[in-house]
Symmetry: C2
Subunit: 409 residues, 2 copies
Amino acid sequence: MPPVSPLAPASTPTLPVLAGVRLATAAAGVRYKGRTDLMVAEMAPGTTVGGVLTRSLTAGAPVELCRKHLAQGEGRVLVVNSGNSNTFTGARGQAVVDATVEAAARLFACAPEAVFVSSTGVIGEPPPGDKITGALPDLKAQLKPDAWAAAAAAIMTTDTFPKVATRSAKIDGVAVTINGICKGSGMIAPDMATMLAYVFTDAGLAAPVVQSLLRAGTDKSFNCMTVDGDTSTSDTLLMFATGKAGHKPVTDVNDPRLADFTAQLEDLLIDLAKQTARDGEGATKFVEIRVVGAEHAAAARRIALSIANSPLVKTAIAGEDANWGRIVMAVGKAGERADRDKLAITIGGVAVARNGEPVTGYDETPVVAHMKGREIDIEVDVGIGSGTATVWTCDLTHGYIDINGSYRT
Amino acid sequence: MPPVSPLAPASTPTLPVLAGVRLATAAAGVRYKGRTDLMVAEMAPGTTVGGVLTRSLTAGAPVELCRKHLAQGEGRVLVVNSGNSNTFTGARGQAVVDATVEAAARLFACAPEAVFVSSTGVIGEPPPGDKITGALPDLKAQLKPDAWAAAAAAIMTTDTFPKVATRSAKIDGVAVTINGICKGSGMIAPDMATMLAYVFTDAGLAAPVVQSLLRAGTDKSFNCMTVDGDTSTSDTLLMFATGKAGHKPVTDVNDPRLADFTAQLEDLLIDLAKQTARDGEGATKFVEIRVVGAEHAAAARRIALSIANSPLVKTAIAGEDANWGRIVMAVGKAGERADRDKLAITIGGVAVARNGEPVTGYDETPVVAHMKGREIDIEVDVGIGSGTATVWTCDLTHGYIDINGSYRT
């Protein structure tokens, strides 16, 4: 077991029970020994679901299943395994997904279309379907409303800590809860939802509302985060809404009653996205990159991601070197409008470059101190418009090379 | 001094004298101690020039100067310094370029527009202009027709070996020579010409012909090579044609007399591009990625570059792991048409995946042996069209992190 990331949150919240959701985990031996690798969540009848899935053109069979099942909007059972992504596994992999859906639908007495399956881990090896379906009856018998920490642990791969978050909001004066769990920590680049993430709420939301809220929230959270610029073939973010909180269901995403919920959901998604960057493979620094003054918001995000994905910027940060020349390079290659002579760069709150040249005689002492810390703040003012974006990432270290040079062995 | 890349060519060709070109180098102390860092090439009157420059929007003052001077098509003096890229250096950097051009034009009695300047090294620190202009008279006194190896060495930064290549061709039955030098080895991603490269020939070519040949050759060489996906702010490829070989000058790029020259030039550019990938920072494996069956050639190149730039693919290669699942991932994120279920992957000539799944029971022994070698061959058949591309890169190792975590210190 690798040591826990030095960037892990100081404390882990205990997720509250959420009416209409029960969870269980098992050590099914899909790949890992001596740890859980299978998680089942059961949602109450009538639970709606929305989802955002990878845009990868080589996505796995579980992703395609989720895409198909999302069309009908009900979510009753979620089955997630770690250790094997069931991607690029052809007919054999598809058969495993089909068998899992069939077994779960029979066991939980629901429509097959209400079963969702995710897999994460090695690509290109058909998973042992029997181990997954064989474990389901026992998992059903062990379902508990408070098994959130165990569920978050069971879906981990190279993650060094489980990622959980919880928020509460009011709809119609009724308190609702939002719980989220997700896993990182490599092959992480935002092309919608990165990696596996699951959000549960007892709010009553029509399926199209869940879908709209999730897509909007994703753009401000997971799509603003990158570890290595490599987009997973399994990226899946699902949200289940049980409606057990008791308020009158929301059927229109523009309903003003959603204001607080929307804000809290966005906050939770950002929390999970940041935790994922904090557990980036080999990470020793958490980096927040804010771009202002771009042509528009999408341009700002592309520039921020160009900086966040640059191996030269990331290795400089790992080396605690405020090498802002590499930030200039990354702005220049982003392909968005920029004017070298209007560019300004701030590191840790200190202006280091302005109007296309270094700030003469700036005091490097606080910048050097900032680079030695765990949290690095970079702000770039492109100077030509009003588009802004914030992106989170981590540094690129020897740890990343160690982990990924020997992942399969 | 870091050790020479294990991927360096076994032998270095001696570049022949080329009528109309003389070179000299100096240790001007721009940044490095105890090595040459300044190179001057003098071309005979009437020498034509073409160039391909970075598309970075934060390009340095020397790049902008070259872009401006290329418009008139005559190339008489080339001044290149290493150690400082004179990029993002504002008015002070521009003044250094202006002073260099003025001093060189006076000294060599040519039009200022026939002087070309390149700089490579750290970004954001105005270079010591006096050291550069001060060294010019002595450099002029030392010009020699055979100083090619010294010239290639003077322009190196983190390169571990000088990169030179030579070819001969016939135009109108007259033998002409093409000599090329270039430098790598980080911040290397193809967005036209990557890094600094200079090609000289005694062929007689009108400037627009030089320009056309160079742009076409770049697309098949430097634009098919990447080290780290980071596009330099200083990328410059210039070709000078002195016309001293004596054949009747070529004024039309479609002139059939150019057939042999075009082929030899392309071969030389590919040679230099491959040498640059072989000297990628920290490289231990040279990787050739061939994509066939893509929608069109540009799609094939984008897919090949998506694979070549993937940190997960590159670290797996460093770890000698034939983790082709990551190749599937990189195809999927490339944004070009692909069909998971038609994809085929070959490593070292052995088919490992076909029709969207692993080849059952393929013999891994030759693949394992191939991964332990220095030269890695990957072929991907996208299976949907006839577009092909070949791209060269290297692996991503601890050496890259070492070099780039402490470049400025």
